[in-house]
Amino acid sequence: MACLIRGARLVDPQVGLDDVADVLVDGGRLARIGSGLEAPEACEVVEGAGRVLVPGLVDMHVHFRDPGFEYKETILTGSRAAAKGGFTDVATMPNTDPVCDTGTGVRYQIDRARAAGLVRVHPVGALTRGERGEQLAEIGDMVLEGAAAFSDDGHGVQNAGMMRTCMEYVSKFDRAVIAHCEVEALSGNGVVNEGRASTSLGMFGWPALAEELEVWRDIQLSRLTGCALHVAHISTARSLSYVREAKEEGLPVTCEVCPHHLFLTEDDIDDSYDTNLKMNPPLRTAADAAALREGIADGSIDCLVTDHAPHAAHEKDCEFEIAYFGIVGLETSLPLMLTNLVRTGAMGWDRLVECMAVAPRRVLRLDPVRLEEGAVADLTLVDPDRPVTVTRDWLESRSKNTPWLGAELTGCATDVFLAGERTLADGVVRGGSETSERGFPLV
C-alpha cells in the first residue's frame, strides 16, 4: 500500500540532504520527494512534522540465537525487537547451535527472516568450523548463500597463523572479517575490567590489553593480507587509536562500538553485582568511554552496533561470575544515542545516519539506501522528542536483560518502512508472520 509521509525533516548525508519535505512511498520505492505532495487514493498518511526521516537503520552486530537457543530469542522475536528499535537490516553473529559455518546455516536464517517479514537478516558466517579456530569454515559456500561478513564472534581467533589464513582466504570474496579481539591467555577468567572493578568487587579482571593486543595484531594481518578488517565492539581508547592509525595509513580497517561502552563504565558496577552490567568486552573506565564517545562523534568509529545478546532470566539471575555475558540492545540503541549524544549536541544528525545506516551497509557490502526518488523505501522515521520508558513490556525481545530497565529516555523510532512495507507504525510492530511458509510456528 502506498504511504505519504508528510512534512518530516529528511536527513541523508549521502546526498547532502537536510530539509523538510513530503515523501511518497509506493511500490516499495521512494516514488516522489517534494513539497505539497497529494496523497493518492487508498494511501496511508503519516504526519511527519517534528520528526526526522532517515535511511533505514542497520545493526550489524546482533545475536538472534536461532537455531539452538530459541528460548532466548528467535529470528522472529529478534526481528520484532529490531523493527521496534527502528532497524530495517541486521547482521547476525554465527555463534548459534549449530554454529553458522555452512551455506545451509546462512540460508536457514535468511529464509526464516523472510518468512517473519520484519527485517532483513544478513548472516555473518563463521571464519572457522564450529568457531573453534582450527580449520577454515566453508566461506565460499556461505558467500554464495548470502553471508555478509565473517567472524568467530564470541572469541578471537587465538592463533595468529590461523587468523592469517582466514583473512587471506576471505580477501578473495570482497567481504570483511569482523574481529572479536580478545587474547584469551590475557583475559583468562576475567569478568570485569582489570582495575577498579576487579579490585573492589573481588573478581578476575579482563585487562584492556587483551583486546588491544589483538586489535593491533589483526591490523597487521590486514596489511599483510589485504583483507578488509572490521574491529568488533571496541572498548578501549588505545584500541581506537590503533584503528585511527590504520585508517591514516590507508588500510581497509573499520570498527564499531556499542552504546553500553559509550554510556556505562566499570564504576557503574557496584556491590549489587548487577549481572546486566556483565559484558564481553567488559565495561571500561570513564576515560575510555569518553574517548569512544569522541570517536563515534568524529567518525573514527564507523558503526554503532548493539551486540544484542539475549539471555533468559535464569542465566542472569545468578552470581555475577557465572552469569552469561551480554545485554539486549536493539530497542534501546537509538533512544540512547538520541538522549545522550544527539539531543546534547555532541553528535549531529548526519553523523547519526552515517554510523547507524550508511557505514554498516558499506561494511556489510550491501547496496546503499539513499533518500532519493527511485530508491528502495527502507526508511526510519524518528521522533526525537518522544519520551521512552524502558520496561519489560516495551521490549519486544524475548529476553529482558538490559541495565536500562526503568530508564527514561527521549527520542525513538516511530515508523519503519521495509521496502515500502510499514513494519513499525507509530511505535507498534506491525505485520510479521508467526508461522513459516509451511505452517511451522516461528515464535
Binding site: R196, T199, S200, G202, S272, Y273, H314, C318, F320, E321
Partner: protein
C-alpha cells in the same frame, strides 16, 4: 544498633558499627572464658549456615557462636548445595526462607553471592566469605585482636603481605582498618598485587624488608598453594625466601609489633615456625576472637525492633 541490616562487607560499616561489634565481642569473649559458655540471647532464633564452599574453620567458628548464643542452627552445603543439584541460589534461599529462618550465614565460591541471598530473603545475612571479594567477620576478629593488643586501632600501621590479588581477607580487612584510622600498606610480589590499590587507599610495594621496621602489625596472608599452578610464583621455596616472615625479618620489627595470620598457616611458606610460635604471634588469639566476634555480629544484627521474621 548497627547502621546495616546485613553484614556483607566492611566497606559499608561505619566506625561506630565496628566499635559496637568489637565492644560487644568483649562481652562475649568473657562468656567464652567461663565454665558455662552459653547465654540465652538468641533462644528461639533459627540460623542457617549455607556453606557453598568447603570450610572447616569458619564453619566451626560460626556453629560454636550460634550454639553459645542458644540459637537453633541448620547446616547446609556440600552435597545439599544448589550448585550440585542445579537449583539457582535464589531458589534455594527462597525455599529455605519459606521455613521462617532468621539469618543466613553464607560462604560461597562466587563474589556477590551474599548480596544475591540478601535480595532473596527477609532474613538477615552474614557473609562468611564470598569468592575473592570479602570476608567481613575475619576482618572484624582481626581488628578485635589488634585492638586488644594495642588498646586502639587509630594511628596504627599494618602491613598486609602475600597473595593480595586473590584475597577476600584483604578485601574486608583493608577497608575496615582504614575506617578505624589505621594506615595500611600492601606487600606482595607483582604477580600477587591488586590492580588498583587506590581503591583501598593504600600504598603497594613488592619489598617486604622496606616495611618491617615501620609497622605495628605484620599481617601475613595465606598463600594458596594451588595458585602456583597459575605460575604466579615459581616455588614455595622462593616465595619463602623473598616474602616469608622468618626470624631474621622478625628481628627487624619494632619491639612491640605483632604478627597475625588468618589461617590455616603454611609453615615454611609465608611464615616460619619460629615466628608463628613466637611472642609476637597473635594467631591463636585471632582464632579465639573469631567466636566472640561472630557472636557479637549475630547478636547485634538479630536484635532490635526492626527485625522481620520472629516478631
Amino acid at each position: 544498633m548497627l547502621s546495616v541490616r546485613n553484614l556483607i562487607d566492611t566497606t559499608s560499616l561505619t566506625a561506630d558499627d565496628i566499635t559496637q561489634i568489637l565492644d560487644t565481642a568483649r562481652g562475649f569473649a568473657e562468656v567464652n572464658s567461663r565454665a558455662v559458655k552459653k547465654v540465652p540471647a538468641l533462644r528461639g532464633r533459627t540460623i542457617v549456615n549455607l556453606f557453598l564452599e568447603p570450610s572447616t574453620r569458619t564453619r566451626s567458628s560460626f556453629e560454636l557462636a550460634e550454639k553459645r548464643l542458644s540459637a537453633d542452627s541448620l547446616n547446609m552445603g556440600g552435597s545439599t548445595s544448589s550448585v550440585v543439584k542445579g537449583e539457582s541460589l535464589a531458589d534455594t534461599i527462597q525455599t529455605i526462607s519459606a521455613m521462617n529462618v532468621d539469618m543466613f550465614v553464607v560462604r560461597a565460591r562466587l563474589a556477590g553471592s551474599p548480596q544475591l541471598v540478601a535480595r532473596s530473603t527477609d532474613a538477615r545475612v552474614i557473609n562468611a566469605g564470598d569468592g575473592k571479594h570479602q570476608h567481613p567477620t575475619q576482618a572484624l576478629l582481626d581488628l578485635f585482636t589488634i585492638r586488644e593488643n594495642f588498646g586502639r586501632l587509630d594511628g596504627l600501621k599494618v602491613a598486609i603481605v602475600g597473595d593480595l590479588l586473590h584475597s577476600r581477607v584483604l578485601g574486608s580487612l583493608a577497608p575496615a582498618l582504614r575506617t578505624m584510622g589505621a594506615e595500611v600498606v600492601l606487600v606482595g610480589p607483582p604477580t600477587f598485587q591488586v590492580a588498583d590499590p587506590t581503591w583501598f587507599g593504600c600504598e603497594q610495594t613488592d619489598d617486604i624488608d622496606s616495611v618491617l621496621s615501620e609497622v605495628d602489625v605484620m599481617y601475613m596472608l595465606r598463600v594458596q598453594l594451588e595458585r602456583m599452578e597459575g605460575a604466579a610464583i615459581p616455588s614455595s621455596r622462593e616465595y619463602n625466601r623473598l616474602y616469608g616472615l622468618n626470624a631474621r625479618r622478625a628481628a627487624l620489627m619494632r619491639p612491640d609489633a605483632i604478627v597475625c595470620h588468618p589461617g590455616p598457616i603454611n609453615r615454611g611458606m609465608e611464615i616460619m615456625p619460629e615466628v608463628a610460635d613466637s611472642h609476637r604471634s597473635r594467631i591463636l588469639d585471632q582464632v579465639n576472637a573469631g567466636v566472640a566476634v561472630r557472636m557479637a555480629a549475630m547478636y547485634l544484627l538479630l536484635g532490635g525492633e526492626d527485625h522481620g521474621m520472629s516478631d
